[in-house]
């Protein structure tokens, strides 16, 4: 081993790292690059408009203050008389198991496309998916509580009614609804109420307020809430008599309602999901907060040998406490097959196909011909589940969820996160 400093072999054996000038320069260069990159990143990265003071920059729709959603030049409807697209995938953004597979398959065969469903459990998930850059969905099913927002941010496109003549089949209230005057952006898909789906063979007695069933320790481990923050907290507001305004922005009320839900965690080991239609018939759940279509669809999930007598649905007797909702069909602006979207909407509003869809998912489409009596006469609804049918009279006096100010939404979401954290 040579000890001559001029010998490269010696240099390579020098022990330990030393901070040389080059290292300092290099480090400084990287630091500078990093600092300089930040403004560049901010320029090319996504940055939306900020919402000041938590108020929505558009009018919020109410039943007594109906809203005509604006048509914008930057978001025009498609032209008349276009040919339907063919080939590829027709991507539907929807709740899981919410459209009959037969209906989707027939549509796909008829037009030569592969129909797929991307599922979500609640509107927050839906919004996250539809806003993903680069994603394209051809149909989406929003409710009134997110509609104005989606129009304002141009997530959905207005409809061209020349492709949807079947709109005349729909209940008149829905041809010109309060949340979308002139049905510019949406048509109705289903209407439903919120109640409790339970096993008649396991529940010994029904209290006056059926929601109390969920707080009953006798059913511990088999109690479920809907995985929807509006429905769950709203139900708690009503059950505990905290407020009859299920869209309240009162922080104390929302907090109290959530605290009551949090009690459920320890009391009955409550869980949340949107699968009442399969869990109650299969026995996994004894008490499940549900939408009124779930019991009707539940008939088809019963294991062999069980009759529909074991299923039962509770709803408030007082119509002014019955929460009614509706889901609508809209066409996302990112749709790659908008003509097909219109055609499928037209199909879903057809009486025959609508009936077929109802027969599968249990949720009533608000079509004039398919009245509650008609459905009962046709045998779709067993005796013990007749209260699950929504009648036109229910619409007028029921409660419904509206779209609220962003600050109210934030309040509800934070409380929901508290509940989901287990208290």
């Amino acid at each position: 081993m040579s000890f001559d400093p001029a010998d490269p072999a010696f240099r390579r054996r020098r022990p330990g790292p030393r901070l040389s000038r080059r290292d300092v320069l290099r480090g400084g260069l990287w630091l500078g690059v990093g600092i300089g990159a930040a403004p560049i990143l901010s320029a090319c990265g996504g940055s939306g408009t900020s919402v000041e003071g938590g108020k929505a920059p558009y009018p919020l729709a109410r039943p007594d203050k109906p809203v005509t959603l604006p048509l914008k030049d930057s978001n025009p409807p498609i032209d008349d008389g276009l040919d339907p697209e063919t080939g590829g995938t027709f991507q539907i953004l929807n709740y899981d198991q919410y459209m009959a597979p037969g209906v989707m398959k027939d549509f796909g065969d008829q037009h030569g496309v592969q129909v797929q469903v991307t599922p979500y459990s609640n509107y927050d998930e839906m919004l996250a998916k539809i806003r993903t850059p680069g994603e394209s969905f051809d149909l989406v099913f929003p409710g009134p509580s997110v509609l104005s927002k989606m129009v304002y941010t141009e997530l959905i496109q207005p409809m061209n009614h020349s492709y949807v003549p079947n709109l005349k089949n729909v209940w008149p209230e829905f041809q010109d609804p309060w949340y979308d005057r002139e049905a510019r952006y949406t048509v109705p898909y289903t209407i439903y109420g919120t109640g409790v789906f339970y096993r008649a063979d396991r529940v010994t007695s029904i209290p006056d307020n059926g929601y109390d069933l969920m707080w009953d320790e006798a059913y511990a481990g088999k109690v479920y809430l809907l995985d929807d923050l509006q429905e769950a907290i709203g139900m708690s507001l009503l059950r505990n008599g905290i407020s009859t305004d299920i869209n309240t922005s009162n922080a104390a009320d929302v907090q109290e309602a959530t605290d009551s839900l949090i009690d459920l965690i320890d009391l009955v080991n409550v869980k949340t999901d949107v699968s009442a239609y399969s869990e109650v018939p299969e026995g996994t759940a004894t008490i499940h907060q549900c939408w009124s279509g779930d019991p009707i669809a539940g008939q088809y999930y019963l294991p062999k040998g069980e009759t529909t007598d074991v299923l039962a649905y509770w709803r408030p007797d007082d119509i002014s406490e019955y929460v009614i909702g509706s889901d609508n069909i809209a066409i996302p602006k990112s749709a790659s097959k908008p003509v097909l979207s219109h055609l499928m909407i037209n199909d879903l509003l057809d009486n025959q196909i609508g009936l077929r869809n109802f027969g599968w998912n249990g949720y009533q489409p608000p079509l004039t011909k398919l009245s509650a009596q008609y459905l009962i006469d046709q045998g779709y609804i067993p005796e013990n589940l007749m209260n699950a049918v929504v009648r036109r009279e229910d619409l007028d006096s029921g409660l419904t969820f509206y779209e609220t100010e962003p600050s109210t939404e934030a309040l509800w979401r934070q409380n929901w996160a508290r509940f989901k954290a287990g208290g």
Partner: protein, 306 residues
Amino acid sequence: MTRTDVATRVEAESPPAKRRVPPWRNPWRRPYVLWTITWLYILWSLVPVLIAVQFSFNDGRSRSTWQGFSTQWYCCAEGSIGEDPSLLLALKNSLILGAATVLVATPLGVALAMGLTRWRSRSSRVANGIALVPLVTPEIVLGSALYLVMVNLYQFVPLGRPAMLLGHVTFSVSYVLVIVRSRLLSIGGDYEEAARDLGASPMQAIRTVLIPLLMPSIFASAMIVFATSLDDFVVSQFLFGDASNITVPIKLYNAVRASPTPALNALATLLLVGSFLALILAFVGLRTRRRGRGTRSALEDLADYG
């Protein structure tokens, strides 16, 4: 006293001591306890999966009560693999993504391993540290970070196959790095130096000497990358976008919480079969390669080259 007298007396007084060592102090006894524990563990580990495979052939909707044998969940009951195209699509997506990840991550990782092992400087130590961190990062951290960056910054990368591929390669590169590097360290630099002394350029030395020597570990890392990619759930769930990119783990996870049928078990069985087939293919491939090379050592290769 004669010697024989002593011997006789010793024998008479102390019979050959066959001391019985109690079993727990006998160092040479059979390891009964450990043997039991190990086989019990293997049973505990594998039997549930075998039962799940069994239920994929259940005649009925239940996944917990055996109702008879039937292949209806493969074809053609409603909701079975034959009838529900989303199930086969998930399988296809998983396999394609796995193969693509191997094709991208393996060269990247091998190059990284070679570069980091031989490059002696502070930058290499930093790069080395960075490359090892994905191994110990919880998947949810990696998945969240990738999701947030794809949605907010890399918006030109659509969620779905492209984003999932990028994500899978990111955590796979570290596996390749660790496996290949340990082999590189044990090989040492002698073979390459010999090649270079014989006149090869550095790239030629790598191509003809180093890579063949590394082949076993490259294969091993490719198999591990494939297995990990097939198995991945979190990164895929954050990055999949819409239904056409759902992989088998995501499909199973969503369905378990919704309305599961034995069709899920059937899908899981198919994935199992697919991954074991890939494993067997890889082994066969490795065997034939080795046989082709026969018993030639790297030095003999060098001799040929010279």
